[in-house]
């Protein structure tokens, strides 16, 4: 099994979720994170001085899927989350050795 970790612009979450559900994928875990990179934060006025906010809010999607579906999922997320502007984000794929569905104790790809 593989974990596909996608860091994307927050407004892209719905598009990505919809595209994944067309692939029959509805389970995932999402968190709000702060991105630092080449994309610059906006400036804010604070007590009369302009400050550059140096991080950008991003959303991180963690999806654990069977190994044979990785290429298709990575391609789909990249296509949906892309705007062509700096800061679109990253996709990282890593290995998952074991998985368990807490409700039933099922293990392996059947637990996903």
């Amino acid at each position: 099994m593989k974990k596909v970790e996608c860091i994307i612009k927050p407004f892209k979450l719905d598009d990505v979720k919809t595209a994944l559900s067309d692939l029959g994928i509805a389970g995932m875990t999402v968190s709000e994170v702060r991105g630092f990179g080449r994309q610059k934060g906006h400036t804010e006025l604070y007590r009369g001085a302009e400050y550059q906010i140096d991080f950008i809010p991003k959303v991180k999607i963690d999806l654990v899927i069977p190994e044979d579906q990785v290429n298709e999922v990575v391609e789909l997320v990249q296509k949906e989350a892309c705007t062509g502007r700096i800061g679109d984000g990253k996709i990282f794929v890593s290995d998952v050795g074991q998985a368990v569905r807490i409700r039933t104790g099922e293990t392996g790809p059947e637990s996903l």
């Binding site: 559900s21 067309d22 692939l23 029959g24 509805a26 579906q69 298709e72 569905r101 099922e106 059947e110």
Partner: protein
């Protein structure tokens, strides 16, 4: 043959009504149901899926998808059924079981029409789809058994699930053929003889989605109640996988007690489009079956 058509409609309506009624109490325990409803006997929606009153779940929707494929092909068409399951999955249904979802995805991604054997496949997701299979094959138990297993293996490949599907099919055939309840009980005893775990004469109250628990619940309440309404109310108040135990009890009780035994208040509450479609499918499927006498 008109009696057959009426009982066919009662079978399919029983499935949809049991699904809609039981969905309210799905995943609740008998104690919780008693505390909240005293006795749950109205179609009111709600439940863990936040349903509208009369709305059905995957039990009815997958059956409808199966029936549509068979009817548009004029006969058994496994690939057509698989395609319809994919279309249904992508229509964002209110619920899909995890085992059903996996099987449908594997067909969508690799064209797989039979999922490999899996210890974890002894759920009731294939058994709940037996109504259209039984109606298509009235008069031909051998065809019913073959089709039951082939549609089951799209998502569930396990001997307990296979045996459950065939037994449900046989009971629907016998009930539509106006057998008596001793005959139906004998059919359940044949299942118990083959797989002792299905024994239900000392019912323990387990109503989970494990196909053994599901059928024990259905059989226990079917044989200890006297009409369609009493049977379904008893089953759904046991909670657990209540929409599916309700749906399977509804199929068998519908076939056995007939249309007139279905409470009018439940018929009226059932989603109108669903009601029209299942009644039409029931008639069209029965007319395709050997019992219709059509050449």
């Amino acid at each position: 043959f008109d009696t057959v058509l009426a009982r066919a409609r009662a079978t399919y309506l029983g499935l949809a009504i049991g699904d809609a009624l039981g969905a309210t109490t799905e995943f609740m325990t008998p104690g919780e149901i008693k505390a909240q409803f005293k006795v749950h006997r109205k179609i009111i929606g709600g439940g863990w899926l936040y349903l509208k009153p009369g709305q059905v779940t995957d039990d009815t929707e997958m059956s409808i998808a199966l029936g549509r494929a068979v009817l548009s092909s004029g006969g058994w068409d496994l690939q057509g059924i698989a395609d319809n399951f994919v279309t249904w999955m992508r229509s964002k249904p209110v619920d899909i079981g995890s085992t059903c979802r996996r099987g449908i995805r594997d067909y969508m991604l690799k064209g797989q029409l039979e999922t490999p054997y899996n210890d974890w496949d002894a759920g009731n997701g294939a058994a709940m789809r037996m109504a259209p299979v039984a109606l298509l094959t009235l008069g031909d138990e051998e065809a019913m058994s073959r089709f039951a297993i082939s549609q089951a293996h799209l998502t569930h490949n396990h001997p307990l699930s296979d045996a459950a599907c065939i037994t449900i099919g046989r009971m629907i055939h016998q009930a539509i053929g106006s057998c008596d309840r001793f005959q139906l009980h004998a059919t359940t005893r044949e299942l118990v003889a083959e797989y002792k775990s299905f024994r239900f004469n000392k019912y323990q109250g387990n109503a989970s989605s494990y196909v053994v628990d599901t059928l024990q619940t259905v059989f226990h309440y079917f044989f200890t109640t006297a009409d369609f309404e009493e049977c379904l109310v008893a089953v759904v108040n046991q909670g657990g996988d209540a929409d599916t135990t309700g749906a399977i009890a509804g199929m068998i009780a519908g076939a056995f007690y007939g249309l007139d035994a279905i409470p009018l208040r439940w018929l009226k509450k059932l989603n109108r489009d669903v009601r029209i479609e299942v009644e039409q499918q029931a008639v069209d499927l029965a007319k395709l079956s050997p019992w219709s006498g059509d050449p």
